[in-house]
Structures are given as C-alpha cells and as structure tokens.
C-alpha cells in the first residue's frame, strides 16, 4: 500500500492526458485526497468542464460556482452516481474535494472516457462533415415570440411570411452547400496524390491554404504539437493506470475508517418509484411524457395488430376449410 515513485508519474500523466481546458494540476488531486478545502473549487471546475464536454453542452469561463455545482451534481446523478454525500455538498463549492476526487475516479472507470474526450477535441486539419442524423437540439423556447401584438395576438399571415422566409433560407443554404461541394471537390481532385498521408491522398482546404500562406497557420502547428503531447501522456497513463487505482483504494480505506460508510441500507426503498415527483424536474417530466406517449403508441399498435391478425386468421380458416 505504499505510494512508490510511480504515483506522481501516473497522476501527472493523467492530468496531461485530459483536454486542455479541463486540465487540473497534479497537486489538486493530491490535496483532494486529503480532503483539503482549497482543492474544492478547482475540482468543481474540473468536473464541470469534463461533464459539459461529455454532454455536449456549452460553458464559459465565467459560469458561476453555484451553477457549476448544480450542474455537476445533476450530471453525476444522471450518469448513475448514486452517492448522496455528493449531493449534499455545499453549493458554494467550498468543501468536498475528496468526494469530488471519488466522483472523478468513478467517471474515469468508464473505459472510453478519456478516449472519448480525445476524439471529441481532435485538432481538425481536414475537411469535415458529420453523418449523424440525430435531431439537432432545437432551442425549446417557452418564451413567446417578440412579435406578439398589443393584445398578445399574432396575425397568421405573419406566420406564413416567416415560414416562407425560413424556406428561402433553406434554399439559399442548399445552394451554398452545393457551391461548397463543387469547390471542395476541385481542391480534392487537383491535389490528389500530393498528401504524405496515403490514406487521405489529397489536401484539405486548410492544407491548400497552408501552402499559400504558411505564416497564417502557426497556431495550427502549435495545436497539433500540444495534441501530440497529450496523446503521449495518454499512452504513459495507460502504462501506469494500475498505480492510480490502487491509490484510490487507499482513499476508500481512509473513508471507511472515518466511518463514512454505507449510510442507509434502506435508503433505496425510499428512492424507488415516486411517480408524483415528476413536477420538480423538467427532465423527469419530459421523460415521463415520452414514456406515456410511447405506451399509448404501443397499445395502439397492439390493438391494430390484434384486429389485423384476427381478420387474417378468419380469412385464412375460410380458405383452408
């Protein structure tokens, strides 16, 4: 159970393998192990940024600590982290670094987490497009439009006009996309065979511009370099991972000794289904609504099939008689 020389290396590698803006100092983790309050704010921030990245949400440097704390608590709960002590941590982020360290390690257990973060933040040098057909997150604005008239009424013709304008935008977007395709294709076609990466074969728009104006792309090169450093840290981390988990077990040992153990075995009985609680959270309400709708649709389909099958069966027996 001794620390050994590998631990600082492991912690350091882990920190360097995290994305640039979610990169803690190794000291933060060490302080958190001893539940030092100074490390709490940094840890909240770390978890906030990581979870925002996982959830695809937006965040800014200036997001208040209260909002960070709320979001982290929710996101961890959403992922299935059931430890109530976390939920009870103060909302000003002043304490709980050890709890947060625990939660952080729990997040890490998910094997693909670091890889997922690496892939998401990958430096783009090529021409990209996604083939994901998932619904875009359309803003669910409950606020009425600002165009409401004096009595809060809107002329339906205004609606028609807006709709027409929207269609016009779509058309011009389409035209621009097509133009972009044409130009992309030209660059790809004319530079094919020139790229040193055989898999790609041709240049991207960025690379073609890089040839003409290399001085504009110093930052790109820097980004690529630091990404390479990050990847090498990841590889180092993979070598030393076991040391980290053993260290985390000592944290659990400490907590067990301090009596921070399983609080209530019967807590889960309470935590079971409380369908009337849906009003307190928009997420839960939305989920409940979706489930209800699905249930109705399934029942309707079941009814339809039932009738259809009955019909067909009757017809079948007629024929076969």
């Amino acid at each position: 159970r001794q620390r050994g020389p590998a631990l600082p290396a492991a912690v350091g590698a882990l920190c360097r393998a995290l994305p640039p803006r979610a990169r803690p100092a190794p000291d933060t983790l060490r302080r958190a192990r001893f539940d030092r309050p100074q490390a709490s704010l940094d840890f909240w921030k770390l978890l906030y940024v990581l979870l925002k990245q996982i959830h695809g949400g937006k965040w800014t440097e200036s997001d208040a600590i209260g909002a960070q704390v709320r979001f982290v608590k929710w996101a961890l709960w959403y992922q299935g982290y059931g430890r109530p002590q976390l939920q009870r941590l103060p909302a000003d982020g002043s304490a709980g670094s050890r709890e947060l360290l625990l939660a952080f390690s729990w997040l890490l257990h998910c094997p693909g987490l670091l890889e997922q973060l690496l892939a998401r933040n990958r430096v783009q040098t090529g021409d990209q497009t996604s083939v994901c057909t998932c619904e875009d997150d359309l803003p669910e604005s409950q606020e009425g439009t600002s165009e409401a008239g004096a009595e809060g009424r809107v002329d339906v013709r205004y609606l028609q006009w807006l709709h027409g304008r929207l269609r016009l935008q779509w058309c011009s977007l389409h035209a621009q996309h097509q133009e972009q395709c044409k130009l992309l294709h030209k660059i790809h076609l004319f530079t094919s065979g020139s790229h040193m990466d055989q898999n790609l074969g041709h240049f991207s728009v960025t690379e073609a511009d890089l040839i003409r104006h290399p001085e504009n792309y110093k930052q790109l090169l820097q980004l690529l370099e630091s990404e390479t450093t990050q990847l090498e840290a990841f590889l180092e981390w993979k070598q030393l991972e076991a040391v980290y988990w053993q260290w985390m077990e000592t944290v659990l040992d400490d907590m067990a000794e301090e009596g921070n153990m399983c609080e209530s075995q019967d807590a889960d009985v309470e935590k079971r289904r409380l369908p009337e609680v849906t009003s307190c959270c928009p997420w839960a309400a939305k989920l409940a609504g979706q489930m209800d709708r699905l249930s109705r649709d399934l029942l309707a389909l079941q009814e339809q099939l039932h009738q259809l099958v009955a019909q067909r069966k009757a017809a079948w027996w007629e024929k076969v008689r």
Partner: protein
C-alpha cells in the same frame, strides 16, 4: 400590411444589395482588383477548359481582346510578383494612349480593354515562367500555374509535415493501446469497493442510471418505428396461400414483439428514479454519447467517389435537418393553432383564417386551398 419589422428587414435587404452592387463596381474600377478579378476569371476559364498548354496560350493572345470576358487565356497572374510590376507599366501605357477614351468608357468597357492589353503582357510572361519551371523546380512555390496544373505536384511545407506525421503516429499508437490486465483488475476492484462499501444504494439492484433509462427509451421508440413499418409493409392481400400464411406468421411475430416492448416499458417506468435530487435548470441530455462508436480513436474517414456523391450527401443532410425542423414547427403550430379552430364559434369572415391555418398545418405553408362558396339554390 407589413409590420415595421418587415419594413426594416426589407430596408436591410435593399441596403445589402446596394452594397453588393457598389463592391462590384469598385472592384472593377480598381485596376489591381480588376486584374485579380480577371485572373480569377481566367483561372475559372482554365479549369473548365482542361489542360491548356502554353502553346495554346500564345495563340490566344490575339483573340484575347474580344474574348477576354469568356476567357480561355492561359495566363496565371495573382501571386506572382510580375502582377504588381506590370500593372503600373500598363497604366502608363494607357495614359500615353487613348486615355480619354479609357476614362470615358463604361466600367465594362474598361475591363475589356484592360483585359486585352493585359493578356498580351501576361501570356508572354507566364509562358516564359512555365518554360523555366522545369529548371527551377516548383515544389513549394505557389501561384505559378493553377491548382489544376500544379496540384498533384505540390508538397506541404516541411514543418507541417513533421508535426502532422508525429501527430498521426501518436493517434495510431493510442488507438492500438490496450488496457493492461493489472490496470483493468485494479479498476474493477476500485469500482466494486466504491459501490458496495461507500453507500451506492441504488446500484445494489443494478437499476439503470437515468442516462441508461433514456437510452433504453430511445431504443424502444426505434423498435416501435420499425414495427409499424413492417406492419405496413405486409401486403394486404397476398396472392398465394403460402404467402398468406407467411404474412400471418409475420404479423403474429410483430404482435409478440409489441407485447415484449410493453413489458420492457413498464419495467423502465418503474425504474424511473423518484428522487431527482438537485435538479439543474441546465439539464442537457447526453445526445452526443449515443453516436460514438466503439473504436473512438480510429481515423474517421469518409470517402466519396464523385462530385455528385458529395453533393447528394450535403443535400440529404440538409434535408434531414429541414425535416427535423419542420416536425418541430408542426408540433408548435398545432399546439398554437388548433385551439383557435376549436374555440371560437364560426364567424362570417373566418373562411380566410381557416384557409390560412389549413395551409400552414396541412400543406406546410406551400399551397393554399381554394375556398368555394357553395351557393345552394333553394
């Protein structure tokens, strides 16, 4: 009657158009810009004309004046120093000659004239450059020649190549990297301990996390979608007896699947967590997660084999996005407009309103039904 906002937007549109017109004019008036514009036009002409050689370029010299607009000249101006050098010379030769005519001519006329003169000067120069090219080697110099000619011989600058190669090798190593057995074992031990000793109540019975619940729900919704399609795909009247039997079996299969789904949904509803804890107003569903594939570090290459494919890809993506938006709009419109139909008693002038609502809800705002008053003759 247009609202003030609409008027404002029309105003903005007008101004934007005017600005665009001004910009065009100023480009044509500014000789250097005009040369660039011409150069681009020439480049464009070149790309479509397929492999014009320097010999052809020379022969175009005489025709350049007349056809400067269409442009099949082989010159390549932009980045080369020759451009800035020849321009002042050109101007001087102009002012020597029929400057009055030049000044008085229309913008278009000036361009033609410039183009004519220009092509003479440039063709010679660039063809000279082309001849000397072999000796000099053109690995890194841009601009002498179009992308089409030189594209396959271009090389990325060395610093970039180095950094890029190191980067791709690192990615490859990461992709191939496996978790060591010790690490996996240590991790599992930690997870077990944290779950059993340090109060993770809900995990005792392996209830799914909210994220997993959402995932399951999405899966069920997908299944419903496919079941419906299969049901509709079954022929209404199969021709053969065998076909009818098979169809019947399929439908019964669908029935049992629906029952299973209903059961799963019920379990899921039970698993739905009652205690939502501290709910954040910024609840963001983890949509992105479901899209990630197993091999996250592989190079995501999307290959296309023709321009048409690329265009289709973009067009279809846009179409999907548009359809999503239309669906969302439809939902909102139904919520807003249907109550209007139900609520009021039918007034005399409502026909127009009904028509508008019908058009929005049922025709996507694209078509307007014709309302005909049916005059019954008593």
């Amino acid at each position: 009657r247009p609202s003030p906002k609409e008027l404002e937007e029309l105003e903005l549109l007008n101004r934007a158009l005017e600005k665009a017109l001004k910009v065009r004019k100023s480009i044509l008036e500014n000789p250097l810009e005009a040369q660039r514009a011409r150069g681009q036009k020439w480049a464009a002409g070149k790309i479509s004309s397929k492999g014009v050689t320097s010999k052809q370029g020379r022969s175009h010299r005489t025709a350049a004046g007349a056809s400067a607009r269409e442009v099949s000249a082989a010159a390549e101006p932009q980045e080369t120093p020759g451009l800035s050098e020849s321009a002042p010379n050109e101007q001087q030769s102009f002012s020597g000659g029929d400057s009055a005519a030049v000044k008085n001519s229309t913008v278009a006329g000036k361009q033609l004239l410039d183009a004519g003169k220009k092509s003479c000067g440039f063709l010679g120069e660039s063809s000279k450059k082309e001849d000397a090219a072999g000796a000099r080697g053109r690995s890194t110099s841009p601009g002498t020649g179009t992308l089409q000619e030189k594209g396959c011989q271009l090389k990325l600058p060395l610093p970039y190549r180095k950094v890029y190669s190191r980067n791709s090798r690192a990615w490859e190593r990461c992709r191939l990297c496996q978790t060591s057995a010790d690490a996996a074992a240590a991790r599992t031990r930690f997870m077990e301990r944290i779950q059993t000793t340090v109060s993770f109540p809900s995990r005792h019975r392996l209830t799914p996390s909210p994220a997993e619940i959402e995932e399951e729900l999405r899966g069920l919704q997908d299944v419903l979608f496919h079941l419906r399609k299969y049901m509709e795909a079954e022929p209404a009247d199969p021709p053969t007896l065998q076909g009818e039997y098979e169809s019947l079996l399929t439908l019964e299969g669908l029935q049992s699947t629906v029952s299973q789904c209903l059961q799963k949904l019920q379990l899921l509803q039970e698993d739905c967590p009652g205690d939502v804890g501290s709910c954040s107003p910024a609840c963001v569903p983890a949509r992105g997660q479901t899209c990630d594939s197993a091999d996250m570090l592989a190079v995501p290459l999307l290959c296309y084999s023709s321009l048409q494919e690329l265009r289709d890809l973009f067009a279809l993506k846009l179409q999907v996005s548009m359809l999503h938006q239309e669906i969302a709009l439809q939902k909102v419109m139904m919520a807003e407009l249907l109550p209007v139909l139900e609520a009021r008693p039918w007034q005399e002038g409502s026909a127009g309103l009904f028509r508008a609502i019908h058009s929005q809800l049922c025709e996507g705002g694209r078509r307007f039904p014709v309302l005909v008053r049916d005059e019954l003759l008593d």
